[in-house]
């Protein structure tokens, strides 16, 4: 299983003209859609993705109509991958949140980062951790995860 953090997940929707790592993430998602890969992420990832595009609406980088189109595509991809059992979306409970707190002062990362890290670490089947967030990647490497940064 490969854990996909938000900064890596959004690259599937990125344009290779502007975004590094799009082709690598596209390959990964296409492999998942054809049953060759099983990906795992946190329910938090979906919230962060929606927040990223909502922020773009807020700063007028895209229109509200653009936002809805992205949302429709995102929901469609999630449904497809989940139905194929190629994507596991891990839920969050208060125990996970409280356990993730220790990583905040340890690595000076945000609660978002620490939740991704805890979710990945609590799943023993995860072989690789995909993220383009350098701070999170340093913490993940230190915790023994095999980190892949699609930006590199």
């Amino acid at each position: 299983m490969k854990y996909i953090d938000t900064s890596a997940f959004v690259k599937y929707y990125g344009n290779p003209k502007f975004e590094k790592g799009v082709l690598q993430m596209s390959d990964l998602f296409e492999n998942a859609k054809s049953g060759k890969e099983i990906l795992i992420t946190s329910i938090f990832t979906i919230g962060e993705i929606i927040s990223v595009f909502d922020r773009w609406v807020r700063i007028k980088a895209i229109t509200n109509e653009d936002f809805i189109k992205i949302l429709i595509r995102l929901v469609s991809d999630l449904e497809e991958l989940i139905n194929l059992k190629s994507l596991v979306v891990d839920g969050i409970n208060s125990e996970m949140v409280s356990h993730s707190f220790e990583y905040i002062p340890k690595y000076h990362i945000s609660i978002n980062d620490s939740l991704h890290l805890y979710t990945a670490l609590s799943n023993k089947n995860i072989k690789e951790f995909f993220s383009s967030d350098e701070n999170l990647n340093k913490a993940a490497t230190n915790e023994g995860l095999d980190v892949i940064n699609p930006d590199h």
Partner: protein, 79 residues
């Protein structure tokens, strides 16, 4: 099925409760699914291709001067 969480005003929350109590919808989830379908109809969106999304994100990246992964980092810094 995917679970989405949303913050709503008290008024919207009351309206959702009334719609379910009146038997117009079986659940809150059914109301949200219908609302999204109505939005798709309003904007005449039937299906959205990945290429279309990537054209939108190219525009968004150019306008914001941020890649998507950098936007995630900025979002996390705002917290």
């Amino acid at each position: 099925m995917t679970t989405l969480t949303a913050d709503v005003t008290d008024g919207v929350s009351r309206l959702v409760k009334v719609l379910v109590e009146k038997g117009l919808y079986k659940s809150q989830s059914e109301i949200v699914r219908d609302a999204i379908r109505q939005l798709a109809l309003k904007y005449d969106i039937k299906d959205v291709s990945l290429n279309e999304v990537r054209e939108i994100t190219l525009k968004g990246s150019k306008n914001s001067k941020e890649s998507l992964s950098n936007s995630v980092k900025k979002l996390r810094q705002e917290i």
